[in-house]
Amino acid sequence: MDKYLNIDHVSIDFPTPNGPFRALDNVNLKIDKGEFVSIIGHSGCGKSTVMNIVGGLYQATEGGVILEGREVNDPGPDRAIVFQNHSLFPWLTCYQNVELAVKSVFGGKRSKQEMKDWIEHNLSLVHMSHAMHKLPSEISGGMKQRIGIARALSMEPKVLLMDEPFGALDALTRAHLQDSLMEIQAELNNTVIMITHDVDEAVLLSDKIVMMTNGPAASIGEVMDVKLPRPRKRLELADNGDYNHYRSEVIHFLHARHARKVA
């Protein structure tokens, strides 16, 4: 019953000129510590809204989010967010971007040297030590996303929230980042909620795939456990029967049972 993260009967209404618009209706989801959960669903169904509620950026109209037994309803570094378009501060170098996060979370609690080591450690986790003194405008999109992940990891969040973190990247770069993310996850064993459009990405990375029904008043359609052994290797999985079974389950959900009525 007492799960690590509990999204408890959450509904949300957005005010619109034509009265309230119910985007989410009764979303219920329980997540264990160290679990990697993907949320997948058609565009506009309310995936980002779920994440923004967990992140505390939006307030649920009904229900609430409970993290480690405590209700959360404001944003905080214990629920770090990786945004789709990196959202690095363009006037700060990569190092300074992570530094800003580390200083505001650990300032006063850790010594200067400890913080410096911690920043550098997180940058090396995402393989970005070589470019840490560059400005975001001087590095590629994939690198920016790596820094965004480093910044989020550096906050030592209880839950790491990622909103289509690789959505804006080309397929090859995306594959690299997925591999990096699996590597990091093997080491840190974070609790992660990741939103994605990409079925392969969801199956490859997740312990659990949450499939959302179409909006308005979207809720959770199905939850599927992905019991593939780790570490997972992209190449080996290509011919793995289980892998293909999971894939086709998700594809069936999205395109047969919950196909979008309008394109």
């Binding site: 944003p75 959202s87 800003l100």
Partner: protein, 340 residues
């Protein structure tokens, strides 16, 4: 070293100097000469054409103060104004020396004597007037910035506040300095009373008028810049639980610096334009008063001297704009953005 120099020249707007630097370091001379011809030759040609047209046009118009001055007469008056400046400085030097000598003699006779040291009260030279104008415009501009930037930031962050002050901005923005001046003069006379004022009333009046007219571009640009900051950046600040002031200082201001500077540049330009009119009416001893006095004077050189002032106003305005542009480029994080 060379790259640094080139960067500095780019920053300060001396782009035409860059080919010379490259030429000096032996960097493909032919290409540099072509660059130089394009960057210096073309504008130079335009200036020569302008001077010719001016020369021919001016000769055809006769006013009650004589012929409209051409480039030669204006140049003559420029040298006269420079000479007058040095003469005045010499006179001042002589006055001070005389006074010191007189006081020394007095003290020799009687060590307890009261010596009076009087400041020199000669008339302001053209260069003194330029400096007065610059000081006035800076005070007005600074006051305007100190008021406009904070209000703009807060208004940009709060839709409610923005819609509250927006009508006021729209109403006061188009008001001419000539309309403000009488009110400002009366208010300053009523409130700024002291036996030993630090600043002349005419100075305060002119500076405040400049402020009233140059507030608006900075205010509007700051508010627009702040309200158009990427929402995700603000969300990052929220996730980090930065407090209101830290968010402003670490996120809002750096993100909107380019827009703030765009506003400041427009403000300074407007301030400089407004200043001349304000000085004419308020009799602040700057370039505006110079123009007015020469106009009242009505001698045969007056028009030429006014023309010198016109050109000076233009050139100083241009330099001010270049300086703010350099600041804008320097403070803007997006160094590749083309700012003109």
């Amino acid at each position: 070293m060379k790259d640094k120099l080139i960067y500095f020249l780019e920053l300060t707007g001396f782009n035409w100097f860059i080919p010379l630097v490259k030429l000096g370091t032996g960097d493909s001379p032919k290409a540099q000469l072509q660059d130089l011809a394009k960057m210096v030759g073309v504008p130079l040609f335009a200036i020569v054409v302008f001077l010719l047209l001016w020369h021919m046009g001016a000769a055809k118009i006769i006013t009650s103060l004589g012929q409209v001055p051409g480039p030669t007469q204006v140049w003559e008056q420029t040298t006269v104004l420079v000479d007058e400046h040095y003469e005045e400085r010499e006179r001042e030097q002589a006055f001070i020396e005389r006074q010191e000598k007189r006081n020394a003699i007095k003290l020799e006779k009687n060590p307890d004597a009261d010596v009076t040291i009087r400041p020199y009260t000669g008339k302001e030279t053209f260069f003194d007037q330029i400096l007065t104008s610059l000081a006035t415009v800076f005070v007005g501009f600074l006051l305007a910035s100190v008021i406009a930037i904070p209000i703009g930031i807060v208004a940009g962050l709060s839709n409610t506040l923005y819609s509250a002050i927006n009508p006021l901005i729209q109403i006061f923005k188009p008001v001419s300095p000539l309309a403000w001046l009488p009110i400002v003069t009366m208010v300053v006379s009523a409130l700024y009373v002291s036996d030993n004022p630090l600043f002349a009333k005419s100075f305060v009046t002119s500076a405040i008028t400049v402020m009233l007219c140059s507030l608006w571009p900075t205010l509007i640009n700051t508010a627009v810049g702040v309200s158009s900051i990427d929402k995700d950046l603000i969300n990052v600040a929220r996730v980090l639980r930065l407090n209101y002031l830290t968010t402003i200082y670490k996120v809002v201001i750096p993100a909107s610096i380019p827009m703030i500077f765009t506003g400041l540049r427009i403000s300074l330009g407007i301030g400089w334009m407004v200043l001349i009119a304000a000085e004419m009416l308020a009799q602040n001893p700057g370039l505006g008063k110079f123009v007015w006095d020469e106009f009242q004077n009505g001698s045969s050189e007056s028009l030429s001297r006014i023309m010198v002032a016109v050109l000076t106003i233009g050139i100083v305005g241009f330099i001010l704009d270049r300086i703010t542009l350099s600041f804008q480029k320097f403070f803007s994080y997006d160094k590749n953005a083309t700012i003109r």
